[in-house]
Amino acid sequence: MNQNVTDASEFSKTSLPQLGQLDTLLRCHICKDFLKIPVLTPCGHTFCSLCIREYLTKEPKCPLCLNELRESSLRSEFLVNEIVESYKSSRKQLLESLKEATLTVDAPPIDITSESDGDDDIQIVATNKKRIQFRQDIVEPNKVNKRVPKNTSTFNNVKKCSKTTENLAQCPICQELFPLKVLERTHLDECLTLQSLGKAPKKSASLKDASSSKISDILSKKQKTTSPYEKENFHVNRYMFSANSGDRQRLPKTNFTSMSLNQIKHKLSSLGLPTNGSRQNMMVRYNHYEMLWNSNFCDAIAPVSESELKRQLASWEASQKTSNLPSSNGNTIASLMKRSNNGSSYQRLLMDFKTDKFERKLWIDMFGREFKSLIKEAKRGMLSTAKHEEKSSQGKAQETV
């Protein structure tokens, strides 16, 4: 019904239905969405940092295997994070090109599902060699890079550069590669002059302008400009240069039972959090902020700022309020959020939908009609089977064995 509610079954009608497994594996089993700041448990299972942290405040066990689990044993998984992010960034295109590929095949579709449990590629290729081959021909021009994990970034790097700068030529004096024009116009003169002076050649001001096409510079990764290469390899690079810095303190769990109201207020304001609302409100606020904080600063590969965390907190509180209507005398955060959300655009809500701050009420107002038609659609499917059963249901026995 909208682009945000994606699920693995979207691949079932493409030429590669087995990709649905990958799509499922990259999702969190709590929120069913793509893993967001994934963390690994000691039992080998992966969830969104926030999802599992929230669940662990209720039950100390792994949702998948039900083994005992403590929050302190969660470890961030940067690699999975980048795999998910890079997959997400090409998922739509991937789906589209796989659908196109299916359309172009005029022969009846191959029943791949019946032959494979998803990972038995060899078997598929063997029995359907021709057609699969054909599909790859269609898919590849659309830049579906199937071997991304195998490429080291350096390898990619060189390949890309030689492709984008075809007219590179090597300077016969310093052996460096330059675009032919640069070499001819300025570099050779410089290099000759420098050599005759007995100095090592170095970059001149004029060369710096053209330096983005100089291989050694690209390889050194010190460029400030975002080349296509950098965009394409953003996730690879972010992973390779990631490290849990640990320069932020973990926010501790707080036991409020022995604290006075003033102490609680002090605690909140020392973190820059609002101190309005009841004691209960403030405790809930702190606990959620503690979760947001630890997920962000302990688990995230690219932590957001404290002010962003506070925005997330306010938004979360607002959503709590709206889902517990009717309580009209909302506190300042909730009313603030509501006000700022009045007249919010569909796009904005969609964005929120992706994150934690989805506002159900507004969504319902906006999409009530769409839901209705969806439901009608679903009912139509069920009605035929349901009708005759309803008649013979409760109160009237059907003759059975």
């Binding site: 699920d7 079954s9 009530g368 409760q394 064995v401």
Partner: protein
């Protein structure tokens, strides 16, 4: 919140026939009010090889605001359900996976209906909410069990 939206989409697909595993179980599973996904109703088929075979059984499902961290609240409604683990008056179900302690947020409404089907197939008279039926089961009187269930379904009170 988006989690239940996702489930709704999945359920729709399953009921359209993409998930044959549920074909024999689910007659209906949908939100009550057309645009409120926190309140659902379900109709399931009584499993074969049980006294419930041939009957359609109604359930109501309430989704808590922190779902799936907390489990859904499921009851047999609007009709009274004769089963040793179901409170005959309220429809309350004694099923471990519906308690916070045993619930897993990795499960969804389809899992819940499967678990309920299993409870219909394998009643647990050791922890009864309906003592009469539990006693009959403990005595192993299958005929009386079937007769009693049928009696209720056919309008007995």
């Amino acid at each position: 919140m988006s989690r239940i939206v996702k489930e709704y989409k999945k359920i729709k697909k399953v009921l359209e026939g993409h998930g044959e595993a549920f074909e024999n179980l689910i007659v209906q599973l949908a939100p009550v009010n057309e645009y409120d996904l926190l309140s659902w109703k379900a109709t399931i088929r009584g499993p074969s090889d049980t006294p419930y075979n041939g009957f359609s059984i109604g359930l109501t499902i309430k989704i808590p605001s922190d779902y799936p961290i907390s489990p859904p609240m499921v009851k047999f409604e609007p009709y009274k359900m004769p089963h040793c683990n179901v409170n005959f008056q309220t429809g309350e179900i004694c099923l471990d996976i519906l308690t916070r302690q045993h619930w897993s947020p990795a499960w969804d409404l389809l899992h819940v209906l499967k678990a309920i089907e299993q409870l219909l197939q394998e009643p647990v008279p050791e922890s009864p909410l309906n003592v009469d039926i539990a006693n009959i089961l403990k005595e192993g009187d299958r005929t009386a069990y079937t007769g009693l269930v049928r009696y209720y379904f056919c309008g007995g009170t």
